[in-house]
Subunit: 234 residues, 2 copies
Amino acid sequence: MSRAIAVIGGTGPAGTGLALRWARAGETVIIGSRDSARADQTANMIRQRVGANARVSGMENSAACVASDLLMLTVPFEGQAALLKQLKPSIRAGSILIDATVPLAASVGGRASRTLGVWQGSAAQQTAELVPKGVSVVAAFQNVSADVLNGDLKEDVDCDVIVCSDDPNATQTAMELAVKIPRIRAIDGGKLENARIIEQITALLIGLNIRHKGHGGIRITGLPDAAYKTLAPQ
Amino acid sequence: MSRAIAVIGGTGPAGTGLALRWARAGETVIIGSRDSARADQTANMIRQRVGANARVSGMENSAACVASDLLMLTVPFEGQAALLKQLKPSIRAGSILIDATVPLAASVGGRASRTLGVWQGSAAQQTAELVPKGVSVVAAFQNVSADVLNGDLKEDVDCDVIVCSDDPNATQTAMELAVKIPRIRAIDGGKLENARIIEQITALLIGLNIRHKGHGGIRITGLPDAAYKTLAPQ
């Protein structure tokens, strides 16, 4: 990627994990947080793990939106809508916003293995309603375990990332970003509306993790090789 | 299995495919159909493919329910409730009914890559409301490609079967049945309510199949070995 990736909500487990892996892959990453001091802390932690030449910095969320047109949103569902309304003036026209939000019932005190119904169909479709015109929303990375991302950097990530968007260029960008993380395969999952199923899968995986004490992910089998984007040619 | 498996709706692609694979594994299989002549035809076809010693017979659906207390339901969603109401007097107390039904929007003329909302939460939970008291409902096999099951018997099935039920004994039985099919792994997916997510995954896979021209399945990664039931010890 020539452009920086701004991880909005980058101090949480999912955001930190993605930022860590992308910094490790040599990408330029901006950690966004409500609190710029916390963002700096996370950036420093990532630099310590990846090495001094890691290109990672911390910013307040709205400054991060101004600084990049490639946004990765990793916030709990209960904060998603309010944050997007607040950030709306700062999100640049033409930006790509990748959303990993899952409407877990835990957002309202329920179980993380259950989901809430979202009027628009999915958290990602709610996001699409809240971003400025001309911003492309992509749903991706919901099913990747934050524990695995934040774990041993020598251990690859055994998970496929299904990418859904109504903008094929944005899908392409998110797929390229996904395969920067070793062993992740990216699959074009079609329109943004399909995010409603991918989001549910996260709740399933959380349930399986609780039941079986694991860090579940998914792989899609049975598609032709061309359907799987990987970093190195297969 | 010591008991016969009665596949209700066994002349459709999913039912025929499962029956074929179980007959091949040496199980005793009853093909159930609205029309006993069609059931016989399918049983004959399976015998031709598996060999003369295949233990497979055809029956009308209600006769198949009377003949076995291990039922595998593979009917399109639009016929599910009516069929269960009709079969209710024939389903034996203490039976296990494994349901692979998915509420695809295609049931009402919509797309097979979309689902309908079911009042009870899932097709399997609807089934649980319609069977006689004392019958244990299990949700399983929704994500296994019928094309793959019906394909070359030398080709194994690259898919995990997530099994959901409120009756642990019934879960166990369905898991044992799943791993009779080479390379399928069975995973305890917890309560029957979780079927709502597994059912959605089928619509996702159908969408991926259309988009990428494949026969998609899923594998769950990242759980400890003990979470995966396989036929041979790993």
